[in-house]
């Protein structure tokens, strides 16, 4: 390890930092961040211009199947240590109220909300970071015991939106305003609007919103009247049966499945489950694009791992046939199938 060259631009340090993540070298990664701080770069910029984009790149490398889950986890762990080191160096004295930052129940992408937590801390808030996958009961009991000015909730997967909504409502019942963030609410936060909750695209915006309590309380109400058709609840009830029948359908059509290992079978079953869960989430916010965006992503992920797009198409049409009495779900599935056809033609 050579002494790091003094760099003053997080953009320039970026590639060296990524190398450190690839090498799983925690100490070198911390030194890159420290170098920037020593050169006078504000802590907030190091977090947002170095750590955050690096984490996005880590996710993309995983999606392209260049990195394994283990590598991704190791890199994330190192970035967490770097964030802790930066936070420890800055160590601002809290001058404002308490803000609770947490990941939705079932949500494990803790680094983005951790960055938001540190940005809030740097801006003088007394921040409590509850971590990954916080159960609703835990969050609520925390809010009962500590006077929180606001809660910031993160959700990376749109699949969790129905749970996110429950969690948001629980916070509201404790009379604590909520701001949400993360890709789970859509690139433009449109599903946050649907759920009637304030949304921030990035950490600085979240910090500005938290500082304006009246803006947090002034959000238009949720628009969920479409749930009256009960397709969401009906789909959840049939989840297990749908996955079973889809698996049987795949076994009939894909001869290679008979030689699948237990792990491969588990992974197929969980994919079949994700399709149902994303469909359910799309029904919950009544937006076909939630489902088609997922299908596009799933096809990309599977293709990069050698599974043909057609397999997804087969399952979508199986679900469509099984859900013939679910008109909204049917429309979303048709849109998904059209996308698979388009992608697999483009791929040829």
């Amino acid at each position: 390890m050579t002494a790091p060259a003094i760099e003053t631009d997080p953009g320039q340090a970026f590639s060296r930092y990524l190398d450190c993540l690839a090498e799983a070298d925690e100490y070198a990664a911390i030194e890159v961040a420290r170098g920037l701080l020593d050169a006078g770069v504000p802590a907030e910029r190091v977090l947002l211009d170095l750590v955050a984009p690096a984490q996005a790149e880590v996710g993309e490398r995983w999606a392209r199947n260049e990195w394994s889950v283990a590598q991704e986890h190791a890199a994330t762990h190192i970035s967490e240590r770097v964030v802790a080191a930066i936070a420890g160096r800055a160590n601002p004295r809290p001058t404002r109220g308490r803000v609770v930052v947490a990941c939705m129940d079932g949500e494990w992408h803790a680094l983005p909300p951790r960055l938001v937590a540190e940005v809030l801390r740097l801006r003088g808030w007394q921040v409590t970071f509850l971590g990954a996958s916080v159960p609703v009961a835990h969050l609520v009991s925390y809010l009962h015991r500590h006077d929180a000015h606001a809660v910031a909730l993160a959700c990376a997967l749109p699949m969790r939106l129905p749970h996110a909504h429950r969690m948001i409502e629980a916070c509201r019942r404790s009379d604590v305003p909520v701001v949400v963030g993360g890709r789970g609410f859509g690139e433009d936060g449109r599903w946050a609007r649907r759920l009637g909750v304030a949304w921030a695209p990035d950490a600085p915006t979240a910090a500005d919103l938290v500082a304006d309590e009246r803006a947090l309380r002034r959000v238009p109400p949720a628009e969920l009247s479409h749930l009256a058709d009960d397709e969401y609840g009906g789909l959840l009830k049939r989840r297990g049966e749908l996955i079973d029948s889809a698996l049987a359908d795949l076994r009939d059509r894909v001869p290679g499945m008979s030689s699948y290992t237990g792990a491969q079978l588990d992974s197929t079953v969980s994919d079949l489950g994700y399709i149902v869960d994303f469909l359910a989430a799309a029904l919950y916010v009544d937006d076909a694009s939630l489902f088609t965006e997922f299908v596009r992503w799933l096809v990309e992920i599977l293709t990069s791992r050698g599974v043909p797009a057609g397999a997804v198409g087969m399952t979508l049409s199986h679900y469509r046939r099984a859900l013939h009495d679910f008109p909204r779900a049917g429309r979303f599935l048709v849109a998904g199938e059209a996308l698979v056809t388009e992608v697999s033609h483009a791929g040829r």
């Binding site: 390890m1 090498e23 799983a24 070298d25 925690e26 100490y27 996710g59 995983w62 999606a63 199947n65 990195w67 394994s68 889950v69 283990a70 590598q71 986890h73 190791a74 994330t76 762990h77 190192i78 129940d105 079932g106 494990w108 996958s133 159960p135 009961a137 835990h138 609520v140 009991s141 809010l143 009962h144 015991r145 500590h146 006077d147 929180a148 990376a156 997967l157 749970h163 019942r173 404790s174 009379d175 604590v176 309590e213 009246r214 002034r218 297990g240 996955i243 290992t261 237990g262 792990a263 491969q264 588990d266 992974s267 079953v269 969980s270 994919d271 489950g273 994700y274 992920i301 791992r305």
Partner: protein
């Protein structure tokens, strides 16, 4: 008046007893042509069954004023004369001086001599006109009262919903003042009963948009306005004038000048004395009448209950918190050459404690005792038992550092305690001692007390189960305890976990066990992960398997040999991609 004048005209609202068009021809021809005061005689050729229409008209609930083309009153029914005594027959209607009767676009309803009157003006033939005057005082009063009552119930329902959940006391106070605006007040101030000579207050003020501005502060109890003190003593001050002055003096009513303001103070009922008082103020144009005060009182009752509950909840939560803190697993103490990783997820999330436990204690010789286990039962009782167990170990490791002998001591101690208290509790656990070597490797000597055997992640990527068996701890006096020694080369990891991991139920139907095979698969390719990341990964795959289903307590403890030197992570290289493995976390 002729029947032809009104024939075929019916507003259709069902309130007006206009003769029906169908019957009109039967009597139209012979109806009296000249209405006059008094009842005209019946036409001689009519059968006695035919009613006298003038007489009938006189008994309408509506009064009638018929004017000729020049606006001179030609007929005034008795009802009209009573409702509008200013109107006299045979003089122009204008002379009565009632604007609403003569101005064409005047509102159809107006208040006259304390009665609410509704007027319809209907043109008749030959330029004549008729005004139908109805007294609607009672129905208007009734529907006004109904609307007001509905608004009140709706308001109290919202208040009940918002304050019905247990809140943090400060949140509850802020919610109380915010909810009072704008329905009850333009400015509302809540003053809590003073504690230790200081009274905290919250205030909400109406703003241009519909979200009130809330702020808060503290006053010395001696500086409280007299009216507030009176309220805190349980009285409801009635001398309203000086109340406003006091509130203005206290600086609580920005933008409301004293002489134009109406204010009231209502105590918030508590268990014994009031928990606080609510001051409501608004412009004097809307002074507080008795009905308003009733609403404020109803609001104050709900607010008082919410605040009392909040304080009670907080006090109990403080006690629970203190107790919980002593029962939560303590993160392992830093040890040379060891990187610890932990994960802990109790079954009852709101409780945050459970029957799984882990921990470590440093030994004088540079090694550490470490343990992970699970006690019988769930919830608080189980957590209390883990606390006893951890305290036992904390004391016992000072006299005995050999794992098997330490576990035996622990077994005897537990047996004695459970026999004394008749609890019949027992535990399963792995208890080990880790000692670092010069080359950066670690030696782990572990004793098994009926717990799931640990897994070792080798540098080559293999996941090896450690052969370790033994009997439950705290059941029999001389249990069989397994012993095993494992050497971890730098970068290798030993993983201890509770049955909450392998017995997690999930999968397609939510009833399939996660099982040890899936755990081993999930660990494949993870042998170079830092220990905290590895522990979190085990927690994550378990929770993903569970979906959102119920689960047992989950605990994970990972020990990784970090190697020698400060740069002990340098050996970490890019983790090789595991063959044929596909995962599904974004």
């Amino acid at each position: 008046m002729t029947a032809a004048d009104v024939r075929g005209w019916d507003p259709g609202d069902g309130r007006i007893s206009t003769p029906s068009a169908a019957r009109a021809p039967a009597w139209a021809a012979d109806a009296p042509t000249r209405p006059a005061s008094g009842l005209p005689p019946l036409a001689p050729d009519r059968g006695h069954a035919e009613p006298d229409w003038s007489e009938v008209v006189e008994h309408f609930r509506e009064g009638l004023i018929v004017c000729d083309a020049d606006g001179v009153v030609r007929h005034l029914s008795a009802v009209a004369a009573r409702l509008l005594p200013e109107v006299t027959p045979d003089v122009p209607l204008v002379t009565a001086g009632i604007r609403e009767l003569t101005t064409p676009d005047a509102p159809a309803e107006f208040t006259h001599r304390g009665r609410r009157l509704r007027v319809r003006r209907v043109p008749l033939s030959a330029g004549r006109s008729c005004r139908y005057v109805e007294d609607v005082t009672e129905s208007v009063t009734r529907s006004d009262a109904l609307l007001t009552e509905r608004a009140r119930s709706a308001f109290l329902a919202v208040v009940g919903e918002k304050l019905g959940n247990p809140l943090h006391p400060d949140r509850a106070a802020a919610a109380v003042v915010r909810l009072a605006v704008p329905t009850l007040a333009e400015v509302s101030v809540l003053v809590l009963a003073p504690r230790a000579g200081r009274a905290r207050w919250w205030r909400a003020a109406r703003s241009e948009d519909e979200t009130p501005i809330v702020d808060s502060g503290v006053l010395a109890a001696t500086d409280l306005p007299a009216a507030i003190e009176e309220g805190l003593a349980g009285a409801e001050p009635h001398a309203v004038d000086w109340l406003v002055e006091q509130a203005v003096d206290a600086g609580w009513l920005p933008g409301l000048p004293a002489h134009e303001t109406s204010a009231r103070v209502v105590p918030l009922p508590g268990h014994d004395a009031p928990t606080g008082v609510l001051l409501v103020a608004r412009r004097a144009t809307r002074f507080y009448d008795e009905a308003d005060i009733d609403l404020v009182r109803a609001f104050a009752a709900r607010a008082g209950a919410a605040l009392t509950t909040a304080v009670l909840y907080r006090d109990q939560a403080e006690v629970a918190d203190t107790l919980q803190a002593s029962l939560l697993p303590v993160e392992p103490a830093e040890a040379t050459g060891v990187q610890w990783g932990t994960a802990y997820r109790p079954a009852q999330a709101g409780l945050r404690i459970g029957g799984d436990f882990y921990g470590s204690h440093r030994l004088a010789d540079g090694g550490s005792v470490f343990f992970l286990g699970d006690v019988s039962g769930k919830g608080v009782e189980a957590a209390v038992f883990t606390g006893q167990l951890r305290q036992c170990l904390q004391a016992l490791h000072r006299v005995e550092s050999h794992p098997v002998r330490l576990l035996r001591l622990l077994n005897d101690a537990l047996l004695e305690t459970t026999q004394a208290h008749g609890q019949g509790r027992f535990a399963t656990m792995v208890l080990g001692v880790v000692r670092p070597h010069r080359d950066g490797s670690l030696t782990l000597t572990m004793a098994g007390g009926g717990h799931l055997p640990p897994l070792v992640l080798r540098a080559g990527g293999e996941v090896e189960p450690v052969g370790l068996s033994g009997m439950l701890v705290g059941v029999v006096p001389d249990p069989r305890i397994g012993e095993v020694t494992v050497r971890l080369a730098p970068g290798e990891t030993c993983l201890l976990y509770s049955d909450g991991v392998t017995e997690a139920r999930g999968g397609r139907r939510g009833d399939e066990l996660f099982g040890p095979e899936r755990l081993v698969t999930a660990l494949a390719g993870c042998h170079r992960m830092p220990a905290p990341a590895l522990a979190e990964r085990v927690e994550q795959v378990t929770c993903d398997w569970l979906g959102h289903g119920d689960h047992d307590d989950i605990a994970v403890l990972a020990l990784r040999a970090t190697g020698t030197g400060a740069r002990n992570s340098r050996h970490l290289h890019a983790v090789p991609r595991p063959p044929e493995q596909r995962e599904h976390q974004e």
